[in-house]
């Protein structure tokens, strides 16, 4: 009965709010997805934070600082949305530390050169935007509102990345090579950000029925590739996929097979930086304990 009413509401494009009745599996799916999304924003600060002290100009440094600060903000919006489902911030952090909650595998790749800041902004944020634009229409109210806010802020991220790539691509041959190398390393991990092919994505069925997800992994991936090919052409870089070609009949680009062995290996903890990223988060959290304790002691003393 409840479940029928719930589905009816979803079918009518009505949003579900925190106090509304919802199936346990819907709640669980949301907690998993939103927390994974939040953790990705926070862990995503590390590969970029790596270059703040080495940014090539003051302008680049200020922009990168603002961008990393935005990622922190986006993480907090998402933790807030997740907490409305009855899970505490502390539990969410603990799940991350114990490896029970995942974050996007893309952040387990190292950032080896300044061009990687360009590739991340252009491709990784670009892929994230495609996903997040779609999620603005998700059925859970707090998640949808968070996505709307994030999308507004995120488009500067992609543009600053593309600007870095464009500058390098029209620079010296060495600079252009650096940009091409970053594109070569980040292309495949970026298009794998959309997750497994639809046929291999076990949870997709319910997520689509409940309108948590509005488009499938493969639809979103195709959308991203179709947009990005032209952008690479404009700045004279080559997407590292020999099978990439326009398919007149489909009205989309065809592209090569992704390396799913690598994908699952990184998801399961064996990427180049999995351990480093998590260790760093755990250390920062432990190092910050005295601050949290002091703030709490202060508030108890002043009983505001």
């Amino acid at each position: 009965m409840n479940e029928t009413k719930f589905q009816l509401k979803i079918d009518e494009e009505k949003k579900i709010e925190p106090k509304d009745w919802m199936p346990d599996a819907y709640r669980k799916h949301l907690i998993r997805q939103i927390s994974q999304h939040a953790h990705s924003e926070i862990i995503g600060m590390q590969p970029e934070g790596n270059w703040i002290s080495r940014a090539p100009s003051l302008r680049a440094k200020m922009i990168l600082l603002a961008k990393v600060q935005d990622e922190a903000g986006h993480g907090l919006y998402l933790y807030s949305a997740c907490e409305t489902l009855g899970v505490s911030r502390q539990e969410l952090i603990q799940q991350l530390h114990e490896g029970k909650a995942k974050y996007s595998s893309i952040f387990n790749y190292p950032t080896l050169s300044w061009a990687d800041m360009g590739a991340i902004g252009w491709l990784v944020d670009g892929a994230a935007i495609v996903n997040q634009v779609s999620l603005q229409r998700t059925s859970y109210g707090p998640y949808s509102r968070g996505m709307i806010k994030i999308c507004k802020e995120e488009s500067f991220h992609q543009r600053q990345g593309y600007e870095i790539m464009a500058e390098l691509a029209k620079g010296t041959p060495e600079q252009k090579e650096m940009a091409q190398d970053a594109l070569n390393r980040f292309w495949w991990p970026s298009i794998m950000m959309f997750g497994p092919n639809d046929g291999d994505s076990p949870r997709s069925g319910n997520a689509m029925k409940w309108k948590i997800k509005r488009q499938t992994n493969d639809e979103l991936r195709q959308n991203f590739i179709d947009k990005t090919v032209q952008q690479a052409e404009v700045i004279g870089l080559t997407i590292p996929d020999p099978d990439l070609k326009w398919n007149e009949e489909r009205g989309h680009y065809d592209f090569g097979e992704m390396n799913w062995d690598e994908f699952w290996s990184v998801v399961n903890g064996n990427g180049p930086c999995n351990k480093q990223r998590l260790d760093h988060h755990i250390k920062a959290h432990k190092d910050g304990k005295w601050v949290r304790d002091a703030a709490k002691a202060y508030s108890e003393k002043h009983l505001n």
Binding site: E17, G73, Y77, R89, K296
Partner: protein, 94 residues
């Protein structure tokens, strides 16, 4: 032992003269920290000229399952709306 801090709801007045609008929430252990965190989290792009923070636990909300009964009294009073009234043809500025 719990480390969890209080949740605060944040309201921002985007411009002098306008109403404060709810924008989201955050964690803080006291009101000063709540205000500073709200500034850092919700006004990174000149979104506001004034911020209110209120402890979430102090907010009283109507229940969504009561929505029909709770709001029913205003449904059948169409005469509260200006479009309810028939105006004579030709009358101006009314």
């Amino acid at each position: 032992m719990t480390e969890e801090s209080l949740v605060w709801e944040v309201f921002i007045q985007s411009k002098n003269g306008l109403a404060h609008k709810h924008v989201g929430n955050l964690h803080a252990t006291d009101k000063e920290m709540a205000l500073q965190n709200a500034r850092d989290l919700y006004t990174r792009r000149n979104e506001g000229s004034c911020i209110w923070v209120v402890k979430s636990k102090d907010i009283v909300s109507s229940e969504s399952e009561d929505v029909e009964a709770f709001f029913d009294p205003s449904n059948d009073k169409m005469y509260r709306h200006p479009t309810f009234y028939k105006m004579p043809d030709g009358a101006k500025h009314i």
